[in-house]
Symmetry: C2
Amino acid sequence: MADKIIPDIVVGRLPIYLRALQRMLAENRHVTSSQELGERLGISAAQIRKDLSQFGEFGKQGTGYSIDYLAEQIRHILKVDQVWDIAVVGAGDIGSAVARYQGFANRGMQVKQIYDSDPAKVGTDVGSFKVKDIADIESEIKKDGIKVAMIATPSDHAQEVADQLVSAGVMAILNYAPINLNVPENVRVQYIDPVIHLQRMTYYL
Amino acid sequence: MADKIIPDIVVGRLPIYLRALQRMLAENRHVTSSQELGERLGISAAQIRKDLSQFGEFGKQGTGYSIDYLAEQIRHILKVDQVWDIAVVGAGDIGSAVARYQGFANRGMQVKQIYDSDPAKVGTDVGSFKVKDIADIESEIKKDGIKVAMIATPSDHAQEVADQLVSAGVMAILNYAPINLNVPENVRVQYIDPVIHLQRMTYYL
DNA sequence: TAGATTGTTAATCGATTAACAATC
DNA sequence: TAGATTGTTAATCGATTAACAATC
C-alpha cells in the first residue's frame, strides 16, 4: 500500500516547525502548544495541527506537545535523524562561506567536499576542506555515495554542473546560481537567490 | 481609489519571470510566449498570463511578448527600475560573501554599507567597503536613507539588530540568521536558511 | 471536576487550470 | 486568410480556517 501523498507545501513547513522547536529547546522549554508555535511563526494554530496530523498524533489533549518528542518525530519524518553528506561545487565567495557555515551542525547536514574548476584554487584549503578538481567530481561523488549537493558556480556553468551531479547519483540540489535548472523529475532542486527575495519586497515599498 | 490588492504569491513570481526574461535577453532573444516561459520555469502558460494580467496587458495576440518591453514593465512594477541601497549587518563569512556578490548588478540592488560589532573587524576592508561599527548603525542608515537591509549575524543577535534596523527606518529585511524575526507589520521580512531548503528535499530521498 | 488543547470534519476561501472569443 | 497567442471567464482543484467532540 502506497503512503498517502503529502502536499509539498506541508512538507515545506516542517523544517520551519523543527527550527522553532529546536530554538525552544535551547531556551530550556519542554512543552508547547499549536497556539504558541503559531504565534511565533505567524501561522494559524489550526494549520499547524492539520499539518502534523498528516503524519500522526504527536500531542496530548489539554497539554500540548512535548517539544523534544515532536522535534524527534519531525526529524524522523524529514529523514534528518541522520547526517547527510554534502558536496559544494564552486569555491568562490559563496561556496567558501557555505563550506565554512556553522549552521549545519545538529540539523542533519554536513559539508563533505568542495570543488572548483580553477587550477589556482584546486588543492588550497577552505575551512577544513581541500578544494578538489571538478574534473574528478563524478567519480568522487559516486565513491562517497553523496546524494545532496549545492551549486555555487557562475550561472553559465550551473546547468553543466547539475548534469554531472545527476549522473553521479545526486538526488537533491540546492542552487545558488541565479538560473533555473533542468533536471530529471526524480531529482529535487531548491533555489537560493537573494535578489529574488529582495525584489519580492521592494514591490511593497 | 485604492489599487486592487495583488496576491502575495503572484508578486512572488514576478522576480522569477524577470530573471528568466533577462536570461533570454542575454541569449539575444527578442520575443517569447507564455508557453515558452512556462516551459522554462515549470509553470503553466495560463498561470503566467493570469499573473501578468493583474498588472496590465503586455502582450500581443498571435505574437507573444516583447522580452525587452515585458522586462521593463516588470521592473517598474517591482520598483527595481531604480537601484536600492542595501546595508549588510555582520561581516562574517556570509555577510562578506554577500557584500562582494556580483549578482546584484542590473537587478536593482547594490550593497552600500557593511557593519560588524567585532572591534577587530571594524575598519577593515570587505570588497570595496570599510566595515562600520554597529554602534553607529541607526545614525548611518538614517543619514543615507537606506530602506533595505540584510542580517548576517549570529542568531542570538538577529532580533536586536532587526529592532535597530526598524527604528532606523528600514522597511525590508532579508534575514540569513536561522531564526524568526518579530517586526511591525509594515516591515517586510524574507528568510534565507540553506538548511530549511535542504531538509525540505531530504523528505523525498 | 473544570479548563485546556488536541485531532478532525465541514465550510470557506483562494489559487490554478481549461477553454475560448478576440485579435494580431 | 490561416495560424498563433493573448487576456479573461468559468470551472476545478486544493489549501486554510472555524468549530467542536474527545480527552488529558
